[in-house]
Amino acid sequence: MNKLKSFQHPYTRGAVNSVKKNNIEGWLFVSPLVIWICLIILVPIYIAFELSLFNVKIIGTSGKFVGIDNYIKLLGKSKFLNASLNSLYWIIGNAICQTFFAFTIALTINYKFPGKKIMANWIILSFIIPTVVVVVIWKLMLSSSSGVINSVLIDIGLFDEATGFFSSPNKAFISLVLINSWRWSPFLALIILSGLNSINREMYDASKVDGANFIQQFFFITFPNLKSVLFVLGLVGTLLSFNIFDIIWLITKGGPSSATTTLPLLIYETAFTKFRISQAATLSIITSFLLLLFSIIFIKLMAPKEDD
């Protein structure tokens, strides 16, 4: 793509030279960050790959070479299947909830109302506080014995008695999805808002003349014009949701009966509570492979065409 651009101003030697100069200088400016990231991602991945071919148990000990045995064993394990499915449900659940919340927030803030500025600035509060604080907030609010949510739901007659929101597998899973969406939606809403701001207002006026109502406006103008934002959100959002560890770990520890054990939790458990380092490394390699595959396919299919 860039090659094409450089051919756009041809014919003068100076222009060609400056493109070449840009190549070297550009890489120079980018290289400190690129080197930093490569070192901290690629070296560990190499270490993980090496580990996955041995059977090391406790960190620091050595194991014997087993080849691809770890991979074969792991792919057939029900724990791995269970965690993969949980991760899939987790991503889908979060995508649905966060899309709903984020669009509600973004579309609301996009209107004019008193206090709009304050709300736009502070809506992101749930994103800037430590995750541990998010956990504290919701553990208190959803507590079965003294939680405010339980007592409100009983007062308005929805529940007969207090429920434990983390006691059954389904309830725990749904509660966690909602808590995680609570944390991330405002941040995503601001990114959607940036997309909304870049839409030409005249399109709305023109559609109004043609008699479109605001629901039609949303589906025919707003949504299609958010393509490049939605691309970034789709890619980054999916990977970020997948990545969530601390909220789940600190609230349910993956329980009850492994219902909330997603792949990140399984990796953590395998490495730091079961002390099977090689297995954890194998899991990491398989997971990175799956995510890389997802990213490549997503970028190939969905990357917006560059027209600027």
Partner: protein, 276 residues
């Protein structure tokens, strides 16, 4: 026409109410609860307006716990991560979006993917790597990791601000004989200052809230960060709610204070055409 405006008004008020209830009420709740007596916090009948007022939890956490040690550690780690992240990402964003070199799209997309690169996957090997090079139990271990997680998105955020700076200004400076260093320090950085402020706060938040790596890479009590300290109380069998709540409020306070001063840059940095 009037009817549609009415519907709009109802929609708007409903969603506003919902947003306030869902996204703001929890903060009101934990802040007020942190001043309640221990009995009221765990009482089965809850009322929205607090009935008791006490400072005992704050007294306990400020004068009878390791709070200040954790606070110091969190501040050191977050500030250092922020400064290194800013230097690296401003330089990279300049290269990516002002110098348009061969392969810049590839670097840009790879950065987006690394932003979301699952930390847990790296946890075990990074632990081993840091153990090998003797970095475990050091601030630097956390800084290295935080920079890794903050910079990719920081570069993406800076893109919008760099694109807003007209190329003509730079070109005019070059014609006047300015060097690249002068252009960057006198033109680019001052003009992108709001963007750099918003990126700084993002980097600070990422480091401030990081829990997973801090809990594994640091084992010494004197080097623990605030999230790890708090998580220690969450994990206890009998939770001392007052203690925990006041800790949660205090741990959020620094980012909130920072946000009071430069939060508007952060929000406008995210909303004003980050995608153009």
């Amino acid at each position: 026409m009037i009817k549609e405006n009415n519907i709009k008004f109802i929609f708007l008020s409903l969603s506003l109410l919902l947003i306030i209830l869902i996204f703001f009420f929890p903060f009101f709740w934990i802040i007020t609860s942190s001043f309640k007596s221990p009995e009221e916090i765990i009482a089965t009948s809850t009322t929205i307006i607090p009935r008791s007022f006490t400072l005992e939890h704050y007294n306990k956490i400020l004068f009878n716990s390791d709070f200040f040690i954790y606070l110091k550690n969190s501040l050191i780690v977050s500030f250092s991560s922020m400064i290194i992240s800013i230097i690296l990402s401003v330089s990279a964003a300049y290269g990516l979006h002002k110098l348009k070199f061969y392969g810049n799209k590839f670097v840009e997309y790879s950065l987006l993917v690394t932003y979301a690169f699952p930390g847990v996957i790296l946890l075990v090997p990074i632990y081993l790597l840091f153990a090998k090079v003797n970095l475990l139990n050091s601030y630097f271990a956390l800084i290295i990791v935080n920079v890794l997680f903050a910079t990719p998105f920081a570069v993406w955020m800076l893109k919008a601000f760099f694109k807003l700076i007209p190329n003509e200004i730079e070109e005019a400076a070059y014609i006047d004989g300015a060097s690249r260093y002068i252009v960057i320090s006198r033109i680019i950085i001052p003009l992108a200052a709001p963007g750099i402020a918003s990126v700084s706060i993002f980097c600070f938040i990422i480091s401030w809230t990081e829990y997973l790596f801090a809990s594994i890479l640091i084992s010494g009590d004197n080097l623990k960060t605030l999230p790890v300290g708090l998580a220690g109380i969450v994990g206890q069998y009998q939770i001392d709610w007052g203690f925990l709540l006041s800790g949660a409020v205090l741990a959020s306070l620094p980012v909130i204070l920072l946000f009071v001063f430069i939060g508007k840059y952060f929000v406008s940095g995210l909303t004003e055409g980050a995608v153009k």
